[in-house]
Symmetry: C3
Subunit: 347 residues, 3 copies
């Protein structure tokens, strides 16, 4: 794919400094760009890298434009504009419309003729695949699954019985959506499985990462709202609700029946307990344990940065003796108070 930077300027509403006829073929970093490459700079911290770039053109904002020695596409949000240009130069891999002959499609399934179903997929009875959907190789759509228009299941995605996926949503390989929730009743010292009869509803424009698991609801549905972004190896328990445009970094676990609001940002390896409510606009930094609900937007933390091991061991020792340290402090305070009383008696 080759396109002129003049055309990019028009298409994405940028001010162009430079020759509009220059052709670009790919995106690259400032450091590794060549004369056919588009680079970008969004963070003024990296502005010094501009000096040495060999890029054909750099996407940047007004404030960085003066420092740019090559052509520039000037816009308010260089990261977003760069994303749109990258999507033009590097279109997502597509497959031809139709079903690969090695795929196994149940007679009751309805695959839109414009959709692509890759090699060795299994599409169950009653499943519906929308217009222009891309169902990558070895994916599994169990009975009654509904996949919207322009959905992309990259490869080897598992959608269990009845799962619903909104338009334009992307699912990375290995994700399992709709496995049974972890529901058991105690029954005389044994665990009795509680059938998980709810479903999973994923909104439009969602992205689900590789090997992430989203459990089906116990009775009602697990819900991921539109625009939410889930990274890899995330666990979403049954009956969780993730609000619109909320982003979860990798390795997060969300326990059952917890509701997370809209536009939250959850850092990597955060663990969130069950039956909690987290309001809109909450940011939680990485490795934090969330054991109670959050009712006020803001930034929350709970991780302690590392130390050299021998120092850390002493700190942990001190921590484990905090009770005794507090007792000793109390004793000193009493002594000081008694001394003060004594002083007063002296007066």
């Amino acid at each position: 794919m080759s396109v002129s930077i003049g055309e990019l300027a028009v298409r994405f509403g940028c001010e162009l400094k430079g020759d509009p006829g220059v052709q670009v073929e790919r995106v690259a970093s400032l450091a590794h760009a060549d004369e056919q490459s588009v680079a970008f700079i969004a963070n003024p911290r990296y502005r010094a890298q501009l000096a040495d770039t060999r890029a054909a053109v750099v996407v940047l904002d007004e404030a960085s434009a003066a420092a740019c020695p090559v052509a520039a596409l000037i816009c308010a949000n260089p990261h977003a504009t760069f994303a749109r240009i990258a999507a033009v130069l590097h279109p997502a891999p597509a497959g031809p419309p139709g079903v690969h002959p090695s795929a196994v499609v149940a007679s009751g399934a309805r695959v839109h003729p414009s959709a692509h179903v890759g090699a060795l997929c299994v599409i169950g009875s009653g499943a519906v695949v929308g217009e222009r959907a891309y169902i990558g190789p070895q994916s599994l759509l169990d009975e009654g699954v509904r996949v919207g228009d322009d959905v992309r299941l990259m490869s080897r995605v598992t959608l269990c019985r009845g799962v619903v996926i909104g338009d334009r949503t992307i699912v990375q390989p290995g994700a399992v959506i709709g496995g049974d929730g972890f529901g058991f009743a105690q029954d005389g010292g044994r665990w009795l499985k509680v059938p998980q009869t709810g479903g999973v509803r994923i909104g439009a424009d969602v992205e689900i990462g590789a090997n992430t698991t989203i459990d089906r609801g116990a009775i009602e549905d697990t819900v991921i709202e539109e625009g939410a972004k889930l990274d890899n190896l995330i666990q979403i328990g049954h009956n969780v609700r993730i609000g619109a445009h909320t982003a979860l970094a990798a390795c997060v676990g969300v326990s059952g029946s917890t509701s997370i609001g809209a536009r939250c940002m959850i850092g990597g390896q955060v663990g969130i307990g069950g039956h909690l409510t987290i309001c809109d606009g909450v940011t939680i930094t990485g490795c934090t344990m969330v054991s109670h609900s959050i009712t006020r937007a803001g930034v929350y933390s709970g991780g302690i940065p590392l130390e050299e091991a021998h120092l850390w061991r002493r700190l942990v020792g001190r921590f484990k003796r905090l009770e005794s340290l507090a007792t000793r402090l109390k004793r000193l305070e009493r002594g000081a108070a008694a001394a003060a009383d004594l002083d007063e008696d002296d007066d």
Copy 2:
């Protein structure tokens, strides 16, 4: 599936208040139940929700019965009875006996005629599949795998060479059982792979969650005992033993050669070191690090709940200066002791 509540009362030993002829078709929550639904209440906290339910019948205990405005199935353990009723109304998806024509079954494999093998499964040489087993689509049973009666591999389950699965055990999609353990010998600054020659033995009535991984033993076997329940995205290292009826929530990691007793409950994201022994009846709350053995039943914790970020940073700063705080306290104590001595000298 439709069944009368009178039949449910007889079948599950409940006292029925209401018309035994009423037919029910599904389970539902108290809030969303309709006239064909069975709901339940196990926790008295939710008793207020009874007033507004439109359920055909509610499963509950004696204490909640008076507050129930509709028919009631009264029993000692409503959660367990509800689970049994749900299993009647929502039977687990089954496949017809026999092997799907797209499955690849080695000539030496023995699949019981009553078992179902789904689309695009691979069954290796010497593998054995028991009576009425359900092998969901795209599952892989490598050479010598043995799967018991009534086992359910939901879909895309990987059982590596020689893995043994007990009767009625359920495995969710994406689980990998019998991958090589993480065994390497140091050899002149490089890691040399130690062949993992042990196996994995999973007992009866176990459940294994989606994308969970259970490594084969280094020399002897990794063992999951009967009735244990493992949630999603759990890692079980080589030669681990998980005791009977122990439950592990999602994202737990258990390092190699650790033994966990019977009837333990391990919370989400708990990390358990290697070569440890945890006795029967231990509960560990979420996000806890377990770095030594536990020899007494009880409840253990190790996670610190979050705070607003600016407050958390100050707490972490204080924590990192605990050594200095203790030193300052010591100095004051010495001063106070010296002053006390002085006082005594004064006497």
Copy 3:
């Protein structure tokens, strides 16, 4: 496979005490070995177990030789020698050269005639598979993937578009290499996907664990250098670099653009932030949060061991009141200083 211990001694440079003609067939632990078994002892702590062993021969070092009641293979590094012997007695499962008829191989792919491609694999256009490579059943090599000589993809491995795997590297089932990195631009309150145009390059002699995920680079490549060993359920973000011979235990998360040096050892469930640099020779113990770069080799920690829950709750309470404790200490210090001044005034 049966081999004489005399042959093993010659082949691996051991001193043999015992009858060189004794045949062995398998490896076993000291405790469970029989007369056809090779056992080993590397840790002098276990030396007492030698007395009761029924092994045909034990691999051990000079210091343990005297305590061995059976034949002995004496060498400097018993663990490494045992690994080599185990590889002889228990050769890795192999498949016949050639492509299984159920595999789907694109016309443009180049599979070396000595390689094995298992049942229901998919090999995309432009993919290259090296000599003697073993591509286990249900594996997916997307377009342009390159797999070196003697590589082993155990089963159901997903290699996305363009991923490169070095010679002799082993990948366990369920691993996903080359899924899209988590790259989004903020765009008016929504997340806009940034196409991930980089690749993944895995060096030679690497091992990747089950269900581990390694994201492709945003623009440049994600890189795993030779000899690195990654356990199960690890997340490697986009543009991460893992140095040669570095080992990561299970459930570790490494955020985007972080670089880890050579010969590091990262414990289980460690969480590593983004855009950090960790130098060569760093060991990080389990459950540690790494939020800043490490510039000096050594051992680092950040996890706090568990306590009984009621005691832990009190410690956490104390921790949360550290600010007040420090304030009270400060007040006492001021009081003591004032008293000291007073004393001095008295003089």
